[in-house]
């Protein structure tokens, strides 16, 4: 099983203390061009990840070539919807996409709940992802009910 998640905090408490255990996840993939190049951020994320969990850092362009082991559960973390779209365009197959956290920033004037804020451009990206048949749902933590996001946003 693979959970694809957009979370601008990437590895943090909700992921480490909750998603990993709730879905018996053994491998985290952080898909982010900046983190791939930033040793300090990579070290911090390694520090935050429990020792028995595998952790890899990939370029957005590299994730579509990653070979997933069918017998293992993964969580794949993206920082932005733009990165998800780029990955999908370079061949990544995603059936379901979890929106975990896209926090408020200037220009993100469209709110989909307390942890998801989108700019006009990001709404367009979201619609494009929906049009590709990806089932998109908002859910910060497993104990919350997922809320489906449709093309009508």
């Amino acid at each position: 099983m693979i959970i694809f998640r957009v979370d601008d905090r990437l590895i943090h408490g909700q992921v480490v203390e909750n998603w990993l255990g709730a879905f018996n996840i053994k491998h985290i993939l952080v898909v982010n061009d900046e983190v791939k190049k930033d040793e300090l951020r990579r070290n911090i994320m390694r520090f935050s990840t429990p020792e028995n969990i595998e952790l890899d850092f990939l370029d957005v362009s590299g994730i579509s070539n990653f070979t997933f082991n069918e017998n293992k559960n993964y969580i794949v973390l993206f920082e932005t919807l733009d990165d998800v779209l780029s990955a999908v365009k370079s061949g990544l197959k995603i059936e379901k996409l979890n929106l975990g956290g896209i926090h408020y920033a200037k220009g993100r004037n469209f709110s989909l709940g307390k942890a998801i804020f989108l700019s006009d451009g990001e709404c367009a990206v979201l619609r494009e992802l929906v049009s590709k048949g990806i089932d998109i749902y908002m859910q910060a933590i497993p104990q919350e009910n997922g809320v489906k996001v449709g093309a009508d946003i």
Binding site: G13, Q14, E17, E39, I44, I141, E144
Partner: protein, 136 residues
């Protein structure tokens, strides 16, 4: 079932629960008691008694978390804990240990949970910069 009661100076415990539930979601049988300077010792005792009695209608065991060893929360809670066979009073509550407690209280047995809480709480106290520099 294991109930959790966090007793602290001021609203520290209430906010600690709020912060922890942001990470692990809301849990049943988790309560805080805020102690402030306007309360008499009898007020505090009766709050602890009321909350303890209520939790015990649902839980056979109780873990009290308090802030500092020797503080009023600890002193008030101890006599109540003495009367509950399966109970514990854990000092120095921090967010890591509370997260472990909330995550695991419904799936671990009492003694194992206590041990895990203490390990996770202690493990979370560290100077990260030096740890990261050692890894390189």
């Amino acid at each position: 079932m294991i109930g959790i009661i966090v007793v602290t100076h001021s609203d520290f415990g209430a906010y600690l629960i709020e912060a922890s539930e942001h990470v692990v979601g809301q849990k049943e049988n988790v309560v805080s008691i805020s102690i402030n300077a306007r309360m008499s010792i009898d007020d505090i005792k009766s709050s602890v008694k009321r909350v303890t009695d209520d939790i015990r209608t649902k839980c056979d065991s109780v873990i009290y978390f308090v802030d500092i060893p020797g503080g009023t929360p600890m002193n008030v809670v101890l006599p109540f804990a003495k009367d509950i066979e399966k109970s514990a009073v854990i000092c120095g509550v921090n967010m890591s240990m509370l997260i472990s407690a909330l995550n695991l209280k419904d799936i671990m047995d009492f003694d194992a949970l206590l041990e895990k809480i203490i390990i996770d709480g202690k493990k979370s106290i560290c100077e990260v910069k030096s740890i990261l520099s050692k890894k390189n």
